[in-house]
């Protein structure tokens, strides 16, 4: 992984971690304040939802890069190297299709949101559009990760074929 990719992943995870911490803090603070001084935070629901979405999509890329997705590996010991390669390529194509289309949908949402500088409907009016943009960027980073992995996966195949023909 290049230094730039490493930096991007670290930055994405830092945003994720901060989002999770904020969700916890705001959620707990709302309950404590609501039950002690009778003041509930009006932005809790929308802020937590927005943070959750950005956290989920920003973490997709690192999860894909580390191959942390749940899979049924029952038949794996029986698979030869060719079969495993087919499996890996099928994984990356399916992943590309799914995340690619999700990224498309998220970009549509993000662009609409940016155009109107969307803010939350509650009294705080915090900006929602940067978080929607973060979602789209997160999903796109995952697509790029999948693409890079696919290229990497196809490269040794070509090399082996060349060696074989030689």
């Amino acid at each position: 992984m290049t230094a730039l990719a490493q930096w991007i992943e670290k930055a994405a995870l830092a945003v994720c971690a901060s989002a999770v911490f904020l969700m916890m803090f705001v959620g707990a603070l709302d309950i404590v304040m609501g039950h002690t001084v009778g003041f509930f935070l009006s932005f809790k629901v929308e802020l937590s939802g927005t943070l959750l979405a950005s956290c989920i999509f920003l973490a997709c890329g690192p999860v894909q890069r580390a191959s942390e997705h749940i899979r049924v590996d029952l038949l794996e010991p029986m698979m030869g190297p060719t079969f495993l390669r087919v499996r890996d390529v099928a994984t990356l194509i399916c992943g590309g299709l799914v995340i690619g289309l999700i990224a498309y949908g998220l970009w549509q949402q993000a662009l609409k949101s940016i155009l109107i500088f969307e803010a939350s409907a509650d009294t705080s009016g915090f900006p929602v559009w940067p978080w929607k943009l973060a979602c789209a960027i997160g999903a796109s980073l995952c697509v790029l990760t999948l693409l890079a992995q696919l290229i990497q996966k196809l490269r040794p195949a070509r090399a082996t074929a060349t060696e074989g023909s030689a």
Partner: protein, 432 residues
């Protein structure tokens, strides 16, 4: 019907090939929706569903529950629970197994992940049990089996995911798991006692004795955990706050306990936050794909035709439950819990509703079956968690043999849950 069936066949082929569950289900759903209804509906679904689902405040509880468990695991709270449970039971044969069950039940009340519980306790309890001459396989089986308590006792991530997939109320589902979870823990304790009457050599008596003062001191060390459990469960049950807020309160509570006792290692909070984000992303992608798959099955007419078929063959609720039992126990040996729910609930839940089965009870039953499957050889997820955490000190053969007594106990508990549905439905009914 044929499009739906082809979709199922394609999904199973991709899963068997080893394609990640989220991608396999998602890809089949996307292609299926495209074939069934066309690109316009597909693209509009993809514009709305992923963000709407991921930003739903009700599901913010998932990362919070994961965070609670991650912080509790890193802060050494578990050690206190285990020590207290051991000191309380040290005079009984099999005390370390009983302590494992009791501590795991308490840990289940602050963590929602069964595999996390199984792997942490394997590392902590298995060496102790081996040191005292316990049968290694049975000890590891005990740890793996008791790990499943986290699936039932709230906060349970599995319950939240069931709620997401079916639309049943999260709060009631979480509360519904309390009695079945406690019943399972009690069943294990009784089962261990009975098992050791016939096989005393599996767990020699421990000579170590503790005074009442020692026991009280050990229990008092865990007061914060009890306070936290009471706060989170009490808050949900009495409607003081919604489950999503309970997650945040619980996670903040564990953090405060860990910081005040100065037991949170440097960087542990950051690592826990990142772990929570990564696990949540993984789970959300699977469930998102599952929701797309549900839409595909509905659009393709598969659900409607399946319901008509079920009604035409006059399938009774009892027959349906028997089929579900077999399906989950067989599939559960090969597929993990989350994936199993995502694959099966889109068609099982509508049938259960058509047959008039209580959605909450069905949820508890599904989770119970999934947890039993998690300790069923050869591919139970908790067994693998225990095996990998044992770091080569345990063979799979030993573990597979050792978990058998716990599967027998589970069969009895499952029979009780089916015979007396009120075990699961009574507490949620009282919430109304």
């Amino acid at each position: 019907m044929s499009t739906g069936l082809w979709g199922f066949a394609a999904m199973i082929a991709l899963l068997a090939l080893g394609v990640p569950v989220a991608y396999a289900i998602g890809a089949v759903a996307i292609v299926g929706i495209y074939i069934a209804i066309g690109p316009v509906f597909l693209l509009s679904t993809l514009q709305s569903l992923p963000y709407a689902f991921a930003s739903d405040y009700n599901f913010a509880v998932v990362p919070m529950f994961v965070l609670m468990g991650a912080l509790a695991a890193r802060s050494g709270i578990i050690t206190d629970l285990y020590a207290a449970a051991f000191k309380l039971t040290s005079h009984i044969r099999g005390s370390l197994m009983m302590a494992t069950v009791m501590a795991q039940a308490m840990f289940a009340a602050i963590s929602g992940s069964t595999t996390v519980a199984a792997s942490i306790f394997t590392r902590m309890a298995l060496p102790e049990m081996t040191r005292y001459g316990y049968n290694r396989g049975v000890s590891a089986g005990c740890v793996a089996a008791a790990g499943t308590l986290a699936g039932l006792i709230p906060p349970s991530i599995a319950m939240v995911l069931y709620a997401v997939l079916t639309g049943e109320p999260v709060g009631k589902l979480l509360i519904a798991g309390i009695f079945p979870g406690l019943l399972t823990a009690a069943g294990y304790l009784v089962g261990i006692r009975l098992m050791l009457i016939f096989r005393p050599e599996w767990a020699p008596l421990i000579a170590e004795r503790f005074t009442l003062k020692d026991k009280l001191k050990a229990v008092s060390n865990t007061w914060a955990v009890f306070l936290l459990i009471g706060l989170v469960l009490g808050g949900i049950y009495f409607g003081v706050f919604p489950p999503s807020a309970a997650g945040a309160v619980g996670a903040a509570g564990v953090l405060v306990i860990a910081l005040s006792s100065r037991r949170l290692p440097r960087g542990a909070l950051w690592d826990s936050l990142i772990e929570s984000a990564r696990i949540s992303a993984m789970l959300f992608l699977i469930v998102m794909a599952g929701l797309l798959f549900s839409r595909f099955l509905l659009i393709s007419g598969f659900i409607g035709e399946l319901k008509t078929f079920v009604m035409s063959v006059e399938l009774t609720a009892a027959m349906f439950i028997a089929m579900v039992l077999v399906l989950f126990l067989v599939l559960g040996c090969f597929v993990d819990s989350v994936s199993l729910m995502v694959i099966t609930l889109p068609f099982l839940y509508p049938i259960s509703k058509a047959l008039g089965i209580d959605g909450i009870w069905f949820g508890v039953l599904v989770i119970k079956l999934i947890e039993i499957a998690a300790i069923t050889p050869p591919v139970g997820l908790n067994l693998f968690a225990a095996l990998s955490a044992a770091r080569g000190e345990l063979t799979s053969r030993e573990l597979f043999k050792g978990v058998v007594p716990f599967l027998v106990m589970e069969a009895v508990i499952l029979a009780l849950l089916i015979a007396f549905p009120s075990i699961a439905t009574q507490l949620p009914a009282w919430m109304d």
